[in-house]
């Protein structure tokens, strides 16, 4: 009896071979995944670190607010910087209302029929169209057919078409996060769809909608292909320090195209300038992303269910 009890106790509390193996594999797998995670953030840190290291000698307040000089071999980036702001803002002013309201219609009003299925299919496919194809469409539709010429307006509209599907997708996601039972409760009380949307759905999805819209800024800011044939030019000096220096029917410079130009098309550019330009571009994008994250965190603290 006694020995039997001892044996069973031993088998219970001593680690079996399989148990040890499992624990070992568990650790290896966890470290592997952790390694992959570090690998993922490494490029971002390296890029920013390297850019900062190369750009620091040039970076200054003046760099941001002076035009490129000496055939872009010296000076700052004021004209392309302001151009990018114009392109992004105008394209958002067009894309955000269309995308958000279309998404509200598709989610809150439309029934599942051939029309909505075609629209959804179009949205998905629009998101997959390469940006250079958007550029060609922009040239045809806005620059030539609509007679806008190469202008900020034409370039912004091209960018707007490119960002629309992503705005629609993120808005749809935000609307779907509002539980269906809220809508049913409102309908049962005789609320119209619009009353339900205005009082319940929109107030509780606005954070997700805004985040999606803001994130589109960063995408639009970095694009080169859609604007280079529709409105962005190699060189166009403007009044320094004046935020209204462009007219939307003008052509403009843009950071992404400017970076391409001074890196590949212009010989003997001072070494720091392309890096500093890149830092401004990346920094602006990260700043906008950070704003959207802060907004999302703030609005999440007010989550109502």
């Amino acid at each position: 009896m006694n020995t039997e009890t001892d044996v069973s106790a031993q088998t219970m509390f001593t680690e079996t071979v399989i148990g040890r193996q499992n624990r070992y594999i568990e650790n290896v797998v966890k470290i592997f995944f952790l390694f992959m995670t570090c690998l993922m953030i490494l490029p971002l840190l390296l890029i920013i670190g390297y850019l900062l290291y190369k750009a620091l000698p040039v970076l200054s307040f003046d760099f941001l607010f002076t035009n490129p000089k000496d055939n872009m071999r010296a000076g700052g980036i004021w004209a392309p910087f302001l151009g990018t702001i114009y392109l992004v803002v105008v394209s958002l002013l067009v894309a955000a209302p269309i995308g958000v309201f279309a998404s509200v219609y598709l989610n809150e009003y439309a029934r599942d029929n051939w029309f909505t299925r075609i629209v959804n299919l179009a949205v998905v496919n629009l998101a997959g169209v390469p940006s250079i194809v958007h550029a060609l469409f922009g040239v045809g539709a806005f620059v030539l057919f609509s007679g806008m010429g190469e202008s900020i307006l034409a370039a912004s509209l091209t960018l707007a078409i490119m960002t629309l599907p992503v705005i629609i997708a993120s808005t749809t996601e935000a609307l779907k996060a509002v539980p269906m039972s809220f809508r049913e409760a409102c309908w049962n009380m005789g609320a119209t769809r619009w009353q339900t949307i205005r009082r319940i759905v929109l107030p509780n999805s606005i954070s997700g909608i805004l985040t999606g819209v803001i994130l589109q800024v960063s995408r639009a800011a970095g694009e080169t292909a859609p604007i280079m044939f529709t409105g962005a030019v190699f060189f166009k000096p403007i009044a320094e320090g004046n935020f209204l220096a462009y007219n939307i029917f003008d052509q403009c410079m843009a950071l992404s195209l400017h970076l391409y130009t001074i890196s590949t098309q212009v010989p003997d550019v001072a070494e720091g300038i392309p890096y500093a330009t890149a830092i401004v571009l990346v920094g602006s994008v990260l700043l906008v992303n950070a704003a959207s994250i802060i907004l999302r965190v703030y609005l999440r603290t007010r989550k109502r269910w």
Partner: protein
């Protein structure tokens, strides 16, 4: 006596699936009509036809007529007004993501009421009727979604009462409510039937026995039997399946 609701030969299809197989029944004014039956018997569908929220579903078709005060509900052009004449309480409690006050004030406001004093009066009266007032009167501006499940269900009932319905439909309201609260709400219903007609869909046959003046038994989309509650729960209702269901032999 004029019937409050007249349903004749009502058939409902979800796509190819028939949910109601031609139901005819009348609801008298100021009665509590209990509707019992196992799952999939069409009880909820029946309620959704009456306030025309079934229209939100895809691929449904409805045949037959439903009359409210003698008027065909499909000929009523103001469907939102129709829905306000009918209070609807769904099985799972839903607190809207608004303050408790705004939850109850929602329907009066959507109906166009702006007078603060009148809304105050409605909010207090409905919360009292739903047996919730004493628990929330000091925190009317806190969120309705943060209440407990039972409190949210009473909030739902208060909302259903807030548009002064003529008919109150309760769809298994006690699923998420504790027994004591259930008894309090049942007491409220006994008082409320002086002012309105109540349709009580319930899975608890004893609840129908306690409350209902008449009880309807539904099974697989058919109305098996409708009669005085005393008859349904007696030893000899007309249909054998009614007896079996009420006495727990199936279902």
């Amino acid at each position: 006596m004029e019937n409050k609701i007249e349903i004749s030969d009502l058939k409902v299809f979800y796509g190819d699936v028939q949910a109601l197989n031609g139901i005819s029944l009348n609801v008298y004014p100021n009665e509590i009509l209990g509707i019992i039956g196992p799952a999939q018997s069409g009880k909820t569908t029946l309620l959704k036809v009456i306030n025309r929220t079934l229209e939100f579903n895809q691929d449904i078709s409805v045949e037959g007529t439903v009359k409210l005060d003698g008027e065909d509900i499909n000929s009523i052009s103001d469907v939102y007004g129709l829905r306000r004449r009918i209070g609807m309480v769904l099985p799972l409690p839903v607190g809207l993501p608004l303050s408790i006050y705004d939850n109850v004030a929602f329907a009066p406001r959507t109906a166009g009421l702006r007078n603060k004093a009148e809304i105050d009066e409605i909010v207090e009266r409905c919360l009292q009727q739903a047996a919730l007032w004493d628990e929330v009167k000091d925190r009317l501006d806190s969120l309705g979604t943060k209440l407990s499940g039972g409190q949210q269900q009473r909030l739902t009932i208060a909302r259903a009462l807030s548009h002064q319905p003529e008919v109150l439909c309760l769809d298994e309201f006690s699923i998420a409510v504790d027994p004591i609260t259930t008894m309090r709400i049942e007491d409220v219903l006994k008082t409320l039937k002086n002012d309105m007609t109540i349709l009580l869909v319930t899975n608890l046959v004893q609840q129908a026995k306690r409350l209902a003046n008449r009880t309807a038994f539904m099974l697989n989309g058919d109305l098996i039997e409708i009669d005085e509650t005393d008859v349904i729960f007696s030893d000899n209702p007309t249909q054998q399946s009614t007896y079996d269901y009420v006495n727990g032999n199936f279902g």
